[in-house]
């Protein structure tokens, strides 16, 4: 891009799906404002600056960097450190960068289990039991691929982060508002929030944005969405469908409950909560309508996957962060170099 004195913009994807990129593009006309106000200097999905070019940039020369994706492997981590150095404002963008996202569900397994599964599927022909080798001596020379780390991490678990923008992906109207704010701030017309803030989201819970009717909750049974015809106007939790709304940060306008399915927690914990799963657990347990331990157990059997349901998008950012097998594997790798 031309050197024309405009502040520099970068967007990078680590262990991500590309949905955050699409969400930025779904701001439609707003992207023209980005183009007008910034020099896009690094955005691998869209233009051809490379890692080498980023390394050559002076430190803090990138004004705004949107970093999405979790830290799954050595390359993701390298890019996190590199972009932190080169950027003034580093935003952990989307659920994966803020709390680990869906890739962090892998923290309930070790990488050995992940590789064994992938390389022994029913359709895989692998009689020699091959696994990907980070350093491989081909007939012509050594070729490399990144090393998978045992524990998936969020961005702020490897580098300091300036702002957090949750969502899977963050809703486009929120992205547009944030881009507007940054442009205004660069022009001296607005103030950026204090560092460490969550931006592009509300400070209440999804329940606050949800139009469904709410009464006193007394849950006698949990059911799965495919098991019942739901009342479209009534709170899903009251109907026995586990909904993450009570513990999830607002900002998305409760799209999923309005579409007939429960909130899945992609906007991360509400303001003031440091662990979304603990808060959701607490809220849900409070409204179970039983005082008998055996009956409580039977009711809880209706939530067959607590870890997944409580921490679906937020495992890496939770207090425990990963399961025992992942931690043991990491410890073992550290000791054996």
């Amino acid at each position: 891009m031309s050197q024309n004195g405009k502040p520099k913009f970068a967007m990078y994807w680590a262990a991500s799906c590309g949905g955050c990129e699409i969400a930025v593009l779904n701001t439609h006309e707003k992207i023209l404002d980005v183009d007008a106000n910034f020099d896009v200097v690094f955005w691998p999905v869209a233009m051809d600056a490379k890692y080498k070019d980023v390394r050559a940039m002076p430190d803090e020369s990138i004004t705004l960097c949107l970093f999405n994706g979790a830290i799954r492997n050595s390359e993701n981590e390298e890019m996190a450190h590199l972009l932190r150095r080169k950027s003034k404002i580093l935003v952990a963008f989307g659920s994966c960068a803020t709390e680990g996202g869906i890739p962090a569900l892998a923290n309930l397994s070790s990488t050995r289990e992940i590789l064994d599964t992938a390389f022994q599927t029913p359709t895989t022909q692998n009689p020699e039991g091959l696994r990907p080798n980070p350093k491989w001596k081909s007939g012509e020379g050594e070729i490399t691929i990144p090393e998978m780390w045992s524990v998936v991490r969020s961005l702020d678990q490897v580098v300091p982060v300036d702002y957090y923008m949750p969502g899977c992906p963050p809703e486009s109207h929120q992205i547009a508002a944030v881009l507007d704010l940054v442009i205004q701030a660069l022009q001296g017309k607005a103030q950026l929030p204090p560092a460490g803030a969550v931006i592009g989201a509300g400070n209440s819970s999804v329940c606050d944005e949800c139009p469904r009717k709410r009464n006193e909750k007394k849950i006698r049974k949990f059911v799965r969405i495919q098991e019942i015809q739901t009342d479209p106007d009534l709170c899903l939790l009251e109907q026995g469908i586990l909904c993450s709304g009570p513990a999830t940060r607002s900002g998305c306008t409760a799209l999923c409950p309005q579409a007939g399915v429960p909130c899945v927690g992609c906007y991360g914990p509400t303001e003031g909560a440091i662990d979304i799963g603990a808060r959701l657990l607490s809220a849900v347990a409070s409204v179970i309508d039983s005082t008998d331990p055996a009956e409580i157990d039977r009711i809880l059997d209706g939530i067959p996957d607590p870890a997944g349901s409580l921490y679906r998008f937020n495992m890496a950012g939770s207090l425990l962060q990963a399961g025992k097998t992942a931690w043991e594997e990491e410890k073992h790798a550290a000791h054996n170099g």
Partner: protein, 158 residues
Amino acid sequence: MTETFEPVIIGFTCNWCSYRAADLAGTSRIKYPPNIRLIRLMCSGRLDPTFVLKALASGADGVMITGCHPGECHYLEQNYKAMRRYQFLQRLLSQMGIEPQRVKLVWASAAEGAHLAQEITKMVEEIRALGPLRWPSGDGAHTLAKEAAQASLTEVPA
């Protein structure tokens, strides 16, 4: 000579029953191990599961939650919330690979100083047998990965 592992247990006690029980144990000179660090809550129903996870992630080897007997809660029904949260939490912890013996729910009335002391003593020995948890919160175990990443950053590009 090997050092004996001294478990660190965080004990969340409710003001009206179990904290008073602990007090009673003290004034009655009933010994219980110093491994437990007591934190007083007004009610077991105040226990946010976040506290338990934070304790485990911050170095505790075990957590004890104590409250009034069912039916005797000073705030009427809130210890049932503690009961339900505890049951749900155990299911989560087992999925994460944390042994169920590390988190315990004990009912103790204000008069049951001896009973509480006994439960604490029992738990300390159970955890001693299990061994330390040393849940790797923070970046300790990740140093190697960080160093490797730093090294690659200083490679001279072609």
